[in-house]
């Protein structure tokens, strides 16, 4: 139930290093890169976008990109 605000799943640079709060599991799995990874809505491939890049998938030219899900565990009541 406790759902904190969305946390970027990738740690960018050194800015957010050590910013993982309690309940974090399996975080820090991503490399420290200055770029965000997105998921293509058409082919499901990983897409990294650099500054000023065209918002499109390099594999299939799909223009719908999704943000990655949080890597933290989320608890729910089965009700």
């Amino acid at each position: 139930m406790p759902r904190e605000e969305y946390q970027v799943p990738t740690t960018s640079g050194g800015a957010s290093a050590g910013a993982m709060t309690r309940g974090a599991t399996g975080g820090e799995r991503h490399d420290s890169r200055a770029v965000m990874t997105y998921i293509c809505g058409d082919c499901g491939g990983n897409v990294t976008l650099s500054k000023d890049a065209l918002v499109a998938c390099p594999h299939c030219a799909g223009r719908v990109l999704y943000k990655e899900r949080t890597k933290r565990m989320v608890q729910f009541e089965a009700r």
């Binding site: 899900r69 565990m73 608890q75």
Partner: protein, 377 residues
């Protein structure tokens, strides 16, 4: 007391009092009247001896997931108490907490958690009924796992990823063949025994879904579900996922009374007004004809309608719609004959559930008795 005060009603009168009348548009005589003071000169005080001698149980069907039996000679208040206890108060084990590490499927986390909660599970009965005890939710601020032990929490895991099936033809259109794990089923849930659970739930006693083919989610390649679950014991009053029965219901025994003969083509039509097997057709015998005033005179050898098995009737009242049967048939239900039907979800056997409901009612009565004793002290 004068002996006349204990005069028992005749069998006919007894049947009349115990029959709920079912007419074309009304239902009559709906409440029971067998309580003290209702009939002058009759004693209707409850006595356990009298209840025992009048009460009986008949089993019609007894399978693990479906039992049907009649409780005869019991008041609606008691029969209904059993039904309500069956639905809301007998504990079962069900998924209560879902810890989702990852879920990239199209089904949302909370919907997925809800679906998982509704899956009925089975396992070693001794372990579920005796070893596993109640779980108490930790207070706010307390360690969330402070009360989780092997005797009140069962851990399950579901880790599944959909991949492309390399052996499938490139033109394959069926997702089940084109991909591996395109469908997530209840059988993909893995039981992780902790502590002494390894003794109570080993081998064929393992905690497992009752129906392994329940579809939980559908996946496409690269989509993944990765979660752990905690099961706790609970009751249906808290959430219906804990209810041990799919249905627990009763109906009153239908009565069909043919007051005047229904003969020939009418008899065939009359038979069609009821479900199959309720009304039989017999030929009018010499004996029937010889009875003066029976209505059979001069109809020797014709077909007549007789009631074969009124229990199969659905009481649709179809017979009451036709003018040719007017005044020839009376429909009703027996007030003290309850045809119970219990369908277990699988964690208990259906007949065992009824015994458990009796146990629960007995316990409630004992508690009430103690309260009454405390009151008069």
């Amino acid at each position: 007391m004068a002996p006349s005060r204990h005069a028992a009603p005749s069998a006919e009168e007894h049947l009349r009092r115990n029959t709920v009348g079912i007419n074309k548009e009304t239902v009559t005589n709906v409440s029971s009247t067998d309580f003290p003071g209702h009939f002058p000169g009759e004693d209707h005080a409850f006595s356990i001896e009298q209840f025992q001698s009048a009460f009986s149980i008949q089993f019609h069907r007894n399978e693990a997931n479906d039992a049907s039996f009649s409780l005869i000679g019991i008041d609606a208040s008691l029969a209904n108490a059993f039904r309500r206890i069956l639905i809301a108060e007998i504990p079962t084990l069900a998924i209560e907490d879902v810890f989702i590490e990852n879920n990239t499927s199209v089904i949302q986390d909370e919907v997925l958690a809800h679906r998982l909660g509704l899956i009925p599970f089975n396992g070693g009965r001794e372990g579920i009924h005796n070893f596993l005890k109640w779980y108490k939710k930790p207070e706010a601020g307390e360690d969330p796992y402070a009360n989780s032990f092997d005797w009140n929490t069962v851990r399950l895991e579901l880790n599944i990823t959909c991949t492309v099936n390399p052996d499938a033809a490139p033109t394959e259109n069926d997702p089940l063949k084109a991909y591996n794990h395109a469908h997530v089923y209840a059988r993909d849930i893995v039981f992780v025994p902790t502590g002494r659970q390894a003794e109570h739930f080993d081998g064929e006693n393992a905690i497992r879904p009752v129906n392994p083919d329940i579809l939980i989610a559908k996946l496409r390649p690269k989509q993944t579900i990765n979660l752990a679950m905690h099961m706790h014991k609970g009751i249906g009053a808290d959430h219906s996922k804990f209810s041990p029965v799919a249905t627990a219901s009763y109906r009153l025994l239908p009565l069909i009374h043919i007051t005047r003969p229904i003969l020939g083509a009418d008899a065939k039509k009359f038979q069609k007004c009821f479900p199959e097997g309720v009304i039989g057709l017999e030929t009018v015998t010499r004996e029937d004809v010889s009875k003066p005033g029976s209505g059979y005179e001069g109809h020797l050898g014709e077909l007549k309608a007789v009631v074969k098995d009124s229990m199969k009737d659905t009481v649709s009242r179809e017979a009451l719609r036709h003018a040719e049967f007017e005044g020839k048939v009376k429909l009703g239900r027996r007030r003290d004959h309850f045809i119970f039907s219990i369908e277990s979800t699988g964690q208990w056997d259906s007949d065992e559930l009824f015994l458990e409901s009796v146990k629960h009612l007995k316990l409630k009565c004992k508690k009430l008795e103690q309260q009454v004793i405390n009151m008069v002290q």
